[in-house]
């Protein structure tokens, strides 16, 4: 998992005797940030999508379908552009 670390989190203050730290990754499907359990296989923090070859969170692993966030972004942006054009034409 070490090679797939995509983020770092640190807590300071409160009840901690010192800073607490954790590595994170960002789900390639929904972009949820997941904390990595040290030395644990990918399945314990989420899963691995073989289609987009990236780490995913547990919820996306359970869905069992590959929907990369980049594709979802394109869909959202295309729909917004379509809605904008329809409004400009006085439709909808």
């Amino acid at each position: 998992m070490a090679g797939r670390v995509q983020g770092y989190a640190i807590w300071t203050g409160g009840d901690f005797s010192g800073p607490a730290e954790a590595d994170t990754f960002t789900c390639s499907h929904c972009q949820r940030v997941v904390f990595i359990k040290p030395r644990a296989p990918a399945s314990e923090s989420g899963g691995w999508c073989g289609r987009c070859d990236a780490l995913i969170c547990g919820r996306c692993a359970d869905k069992g379908v590959c929907t990369p966030w980049e594709k979802q972004l394109e869909r959202i942006e295309a729909k917004a552009e379509q809605d904008r054009m329809l409004m400009a034409m006085g439709i909808g």
Binding site: V5, R32, E77
Partner: protein
């Protein structure tokens, strides 16, 4: 892509956002959020907080709040197109699910930094973006900062 920073402060609310960062209402660009810091500047106390980073999924009918400055980290860069607002009285349409949820003692602070490739990316769609929420909170002053590239 230039990098920018913004921050917001408010009396924490369990239902209203601390900081809203959305694409411009005219010229929308994707944002990559890579750094999030939060804490409380109030008198230290043992209150339970939960901080959440959530998506804005529709423009909605927001109300209230104050526009906050977005500063380029390199002063030679152009001004950001995105809009940031703190202390809304009515939020935009927000996803019920969070991208990152952090339980935190009021005395503590938290920081998340994304490595390249791990950023949270928002669509280039007018008025969509990210909000910082405190669904579990005490009514004390809280602050949060976001760094992003656009």
């Amino acid at each position: 892509m230039a990098r920018y920073g913004t921050d917001g402060t408010r009396t924490a609310s369990t239902t209203l956002s601390v900081l809203e960062l959305v694409a411009d209402g005219t010229t929308a660009r994707r944002m990559s959020i890579y750094d999030w810091i939060m804490g409380s500047g109030a008198t230290p106390a043992d209150n339970a907080f939960e901080w959440q980073l959530r998506r804005v999924t529709a423009a909605g009918t927001p109300a209230g709040g104050s526009t906050v400055n977005i500063e380029p980290l390199d002063s030679a860069d152009v001004a950001a197109l995105a809009d940031a607002t703190e202390g809304r009285t009515t939020d935009r349409t927000i996803d019920a699910d969070s991208l990152l949820s952090i339980p935190l003692n009021q005395r503590a602070s938290f920081r998340w930094v994304a490595a390249p490739g791990g950023e949270i990316i928002t669509p280039a769609t007018v008025s969509l973006g990210i909000v910082v929420m405190t669904p579990t909170s005490a009514a004390v002053a809280v602050s949060t900062s976001l760094h992003f590239s656009e």
